[in-house]
């Protein structure tokens, strides 16, 4: 029987299935961080049990950490205690921790792939919804709650019901100035923020095949913003080339064995999907959001929808969203004044994102009244940026290169956008208060964000490209 990519991985990870209930799904890799793990460790300690397979768990500190002066103790007491709890819990349970100061520290969804921990065919979970990122390697990867973190600690398994399957095929060639973030914001604008709820989403088509691993991760990262249980892309030569030689990648004979297994990971030609969506790459232009969910996006030259033109799903929320954002129905988004630019997060903080921004801003200066924060995804990304001289380009442009962490994506640390201010952000969520109470977020690609940093307003980056 023909199978989808998802089914090939799912079927080989089922320990058993409960009658009229969920399946017991075996988990290959479990990433943890300081914010969603402490209560799970407490639960384990109350039960008097140890983590079953500590060697399959990888820990880092990312959500809560400062992005300046990481060599100093964390000033904020609650944040410091959470990070200290992670250190203690990992030591007690024998879990490898890439904490502050470690050369591998960084955003959990950036370090997994760059260390070669993330591999095709795996089941991967983390107490963070953007775990879907790892699906770019052809893995089933999804976010879980803290009770589920405890389940994986205790049993290396989860109880899961098989989701429905959706395939989104994007064929054709991308227009100038359009990058993977624009693809995913475009999909979101078409299917809305709940368009994939209940589904595992496979991304396919020639436009996807042409993307680098970094770009594919951006798309899978935001599959959760469509409500998707996970997002995945079949592995290919681009995937294998990326993994080969990385710290925890298979080596020698083991590499060849794995490679032959990985090459079988694709959806069979006549495999069945519950839903299929087709998109033409040429229809996509640089995107930006105007509202308070990631589905509320438009092309940068388009006008903000009105009650008459918006999709039904967002109609009732439009007035509330625009009141929060301080924007008007039917107005141009292009030319909107920007106060902050945030380039970072598990969506767009990889070396390729920083290179893209650097090559665009080289020799340019930021607008006077704009503050620009560049937050690399990991210590390795930071080191690479410095090695390539990207830090100098940012410095000359007036951009601040900070230290790795989740930072202003969710504003758990000091990196908050003040109330009422506009931030063009390469992160994944424009929810009310996400970047700080009252902060107004416009989601965009690193290129579009960089263009706004230079002009001080929402800009069509294509006008600035040669």
């Amino acid at each position: 029987m023909p199978k989808t990519l998802f089914e090939k991985i799912w079927d080989t990870h089922i320990v058993k299935t409960i009658d009229d209930g969920p399946s017991v799904l075996y988990i290959d890799k479990h990433f943890i961080h300081e914010v969603t793990s402490p209560q799970a460790f407490t639960g384990m300690n109350k039960r008097g049990i140890k983590v079953l397979r500590p060697q399959q768990v990888v820990a880092t500190a990312d959500h809560n950490v400062p992005t300046l002066n990481q060599h100093l103790p964390i000033k904020e007491e609650l944040s410091r205690k959470q990070v200290e709890a992670l250190i203690q819990n990992c030591a007690e349970h024998g879990i490898e921790l890439y904490g502050l100061g470690h050369p591998f520290q960084g955003i959990v969804h950036v370090i997994g792939p760059e260390l070669g921990v993330t591999q095709p065919g795996m089941t991967i979970v983390c107490g963070d919804s953007h775990t879907s990122t790892h699906g770019a390697f052809g893995a089933i990867a999804f976010g879980i709650g803290t009770s589920e973190v405890e389940m994986v600690f205790a049993s290396q398994c989860l109880l899961q019901s098989k989701p429905k399957l959706m395939r989104i095929t994007i064929d054709g060639e991308l227009n100038k100035g359009v990058v993977s973030k624009d693809i995913v914001l475009y999909i979101l604008s078409q299917i809305t923020a709940s368009g994939a709820t209940g589904y595992a989403v496979e991304f396919a088509g020639s436009a996807i095949r042409s993307l680098s691993m970094e770009a594919r991760m951006t798309i899978c990262n935001m599959s959760i913003e469509m409500g998707g249980r996970c997002g995945l892309i079949a592995p290919d030569e681009t995937t294998f080339d990326y993994i080969k030689g990385r710290k925890f990648a298979p080596q020698g004979a083991e590499w060849n064995k794995k490679l032959s297994e990985w090459k079988e990971l694709y959806s069979d030609a006549d495999a069945n999907f519950d839903k299929e969506i087709f998109i033409q790459a040429e229809d996509i232009q640089p995107m930006i959001t105007y509202g308070t969910n990631p589905g509320m996006g438009i092309g940068v030259t388009e006008t903000i929808p009105t009650t008459e033109t918006i999709n039904e799903n967002d109609r009732s929320g439009l007035a509330k969203s625009l009141a929060y954002m301080g924007l008007e129905q039917g107005a141009n988004i292009k030319g909107q004044k920007i106060d902050y630019v945030f380039i970072g997060s598990c969506t767009n903080s990889r070396i390729e994102d920083l290179r893209m921004v650097a090559s665009f801003v080289k020799g340019k200066k930021k607008a006077d009244d704009v503050e620009v924060w560049i937050v690399p995804g990991s210590k390795q990304v930071e080191a690479q940026a410095i090695e390539e001289g990207i830090d100098k380009i940012f410095e000359e442009a007036g951009f601040q290169l900070r230290q790795p962490g989740c930072s202003a994506c969710l504003g758990m640390n000091e990196d908050k956008i003040p109330a009422g201010k506009y931030c063009i952000s390469t992160s994944n969520r424009n929810f009310e208060g996400r970047q700080g109470a009252g902060a107004r977020t416009l989601l965009a690609s690193p290129l579009t964000a960089a263009a706004a940093a230079i002009t001080g307003v929402v800009t069509d980056v294509r006008e600035l490209l040669n």
Partner: protein, 195 residues
Amino acid sequence: MSKPLNIVKSRFVPINIENIDTDQIIPARFLKATTKDGFGKNLFRDWRYYNDDESKTRADFPLNMSQFDGEILVAGKNFGCGSSREHAAWSILDYGFRVVVSSFFADIFKNNALNNGVLPVQVSDEFLQRIFLQDNNTELTVDVEKQTITINSTGESEGFDINSYKKTCLLNGYDDIDYLISIKEDIQQFETQRA
């Protein structure tokens, strides 16, 4: 173990807003705790207060309106989207809700709620609108065993889905961890076979 849940007969608090994300349910700045306790006071924090000031309540937000009360929260569709933070479920439970009714739930929130003995009841759009039309004294009855939700004043009723495994867990207060620990031998055998 969570508290068993069978029949909830209660008035309800209506929040007629769609796409309520978990950043609204519990903003990120309250995720720094290392225990599960005390999140209720920060439930919908930025919709309840102006400028994060507990003395400046927003009079038009249902949680601040004295006419609304009860163990049932009724909200617009796509409730709980966004972050996987279980703190959202903890804050709803700690505030005193045992049931959330909506016409659509985000996946991760649904699991998190069930894992804490909070029941997400998914109803049709039409039935949800019927509930929103009721006055504030109306009681709803949610019956887990029968899998029904009823508007008591009018007798209108609708069934809801829940798989029989989760139903047994809710009715008895069992949790998945107990079950998974109990099948440890199956898991070890699975690991041996694929090695």
